[in-house]
Symmetry: C2
């Protein structure tokens, strides 16, 4: 069934030239006489020859693939980012390898592995906890951070603190003064940035983030529902809640509605991310949009540029977030 696939030798023999010429005809068509080029291409057609990428890459010392290290593949948040990555990598001649650091017993070891396995031409890392200083001393292919990151490495980031501040200001402008916050997991960079942005905006208005109005979540839907339970248990309930992710906002609103609380009637809710369902919930969720596809596309471009320039350094980019006003926020009272 599996006939031996044609090699460069077969093409050379069939077209009556040397393997070197075949190689050139394919890789540098201009360095070869038109007639021979045609003969070679014809032979390629006939044999169905396709260069073995392994051998080619070994020789060229490049692999043609780029690795994305994501903290949790199952999180749909990444699907659009990956799609963006893929859409620019693919035309640029790179394959996209994906590894899930959450599923990995030792993600740092995996990163180290890819550093010198010669398996990838570059990496996009979505997990800020990964690159420790010792690791980064080692020789490695170009690496781009694609998450909140303040270190030396080039990065594509979203302005999380500003996004959170925009969310809080929107609540403030709508007349809210009693504002709660559902955070991501403690210690996470995103969590801390958004927390800080929110606190800052609150402070500008002379308000503070109460401890008992700050619920710790994990960005997932279920943790939003749990936060709702805690909100319900409060004697003195905030009139608005800023959730650090749309998923949590979704879980929060869902649980509240189950409990007979009206949104935004009795409490306003604002999210973060603008995931696809956000606009189709009832009420439609007001949120801070993160252009995920753009993030992927920009990351891919920057990384490919670094590879082309054989440089470990390169520009960083900050991607703007945007307030999307829908129906889940209204004036209190």
């Amino acid at each position: 069934m599996r006939q031996k696939t044609a090699g460069i030798q077969d093409v050379a023999r069939l077209s009556g030239v040397s393997t070197a010429t075949v190689s050139r005809a394919l890789s540098h068509p201009e360095r070869v006489a038109e007639s021979t080029r045609e003969a070679v291409l014809r032979a390629v057609q006939e044999t169905g020859y396709v260069a073995n990428s392994l051998a080619r890459n070994l020789r060229r010392r490049r692999t043609g693939s780029i690795l994305a290290l994501v903290p949790n593949l199952a999180n749909p948040f990444f699907s659009q980012i990956l799609s963006g990555l893929s859409s620019v990598l693919s035309p640029a001649g790179y394959g996209l390898l994906i590894a899930d650091t959450l599923a990995d017993p030792d993600p740092r070891a995996r990163l180290a592995h890819y550093f010198d396995s010669g398996l990838v031409d570059g990496l996009v890392v979505f997990d800020a906890t990964l690159p420790d200083p010792a690791l980064m001393q080692r020789a490695h292919p170009p690496l781009l951070m694609a998450c909140e990151w303040r270190g030396e490495l080039p990065s594509v980031t979203v302005d999380n603190a500003e996004g959170a501040a925009i969310a809080i200001r929107h609540l403030l402008e709508s007349g809210h003064r009693r504002i709660a916050h559902v955070t991501g997991p403690r210690g996470n960079v995103l969590t801390e940035s958004r927390l800080q942005g929110a606190a800052g905006a609150l402070a500008e208005a002379g308000l503070a983030l109460h401890d008992d109005w700050t619920f710790t979540g994990d960005f997932g839907i279920a943790s939003g529902a749990q936060a709702a339970a805690r909100w319900l248990a409060l004697a003195d309930r905030p009139t608005a809640v800023f959730c650090a992710s749309d998923e949590m906002a979704c879980g929060f609103m869902g649980a509240l509605q189950q409990a007979g609380i009206a949104v935004p009637g009795e409490v306003s809710v604002i999210g973060f991310d603008d995931i696809e369902v956000a606009g189709h919930l009832t009420p439609a969720l007001t949120t801070i949009r993160q252009p995920r596809r753009d993030i992927g596309e920009r990351a891919a471009h920057l990384l490919v540029d670094m590879i082309d320039q054989r440089s470990l350094m390169g520009p960083s980019e900050r991607i703007a977030v945007e307030l999307i006003r829908r129906q889940s926020v209204k004036s209190p009272g």
Copy 2:
């Protein structure tokens, strides 16, 4: 900055053995004396040697990676499947390459490319339109279909027709007789299977699928909202709707609620997939669960087995779906 990474030669020199022994000490530790093995491992530590996978794979005639061809990476439906794939592939020593066939100008050419580029050890294909007979004649690595598929190739599938039938029966048992269906895109295998399953179950009850109660969608949220508009325009409205995807169900319910229609008060809705938000919508969505992570895991196992056995054929598996009763379905009237 980028010091030359140590090669097998360096290790051999440092440990005072030949490169062949180093290779063995690492790949087949049992075939080497304990003392030499230790010496080699020590030298590996010292030099920080990591085998170049390209060279190794070229020699071993395997690549260590598996390609997943998905029709639309941006669709979060795939994220859990990919996560499942990754979680078994990774421990099995395979990397996961991903290509988006939607983003590709000529997906079939891409498939062909991977067939003989020698770049992958196996493929998981999520798009039934891809493998055309001519293509499959060619030499290629093991390939597993992971979507509705009735051809010769080994596959992992979900029983779509049965799932649809279960959905319809549930509606029937709840007392509904006037049942609408929001389909996927026409021509799509999933669409047709679910349509057929739904029609079959209806027929068992002596009912038929009315043309004007069959709304064509595309599995996306927006198309569900559009279907809602058409439902609203009906003089004679069905009391229940089976949506061929949860996303459409979500868009459908959202649009209805915006229009002031109560769900399930005035119309019951049942979805398909059991995506994560389904249980957190208001009302929580009754649906047919497709165990997406399992699909990924099973696909990975089957494919790895085929690779191990150097066989293009292998068993197929059918994964059961399950009715998840929540709140979006109740008796009519």
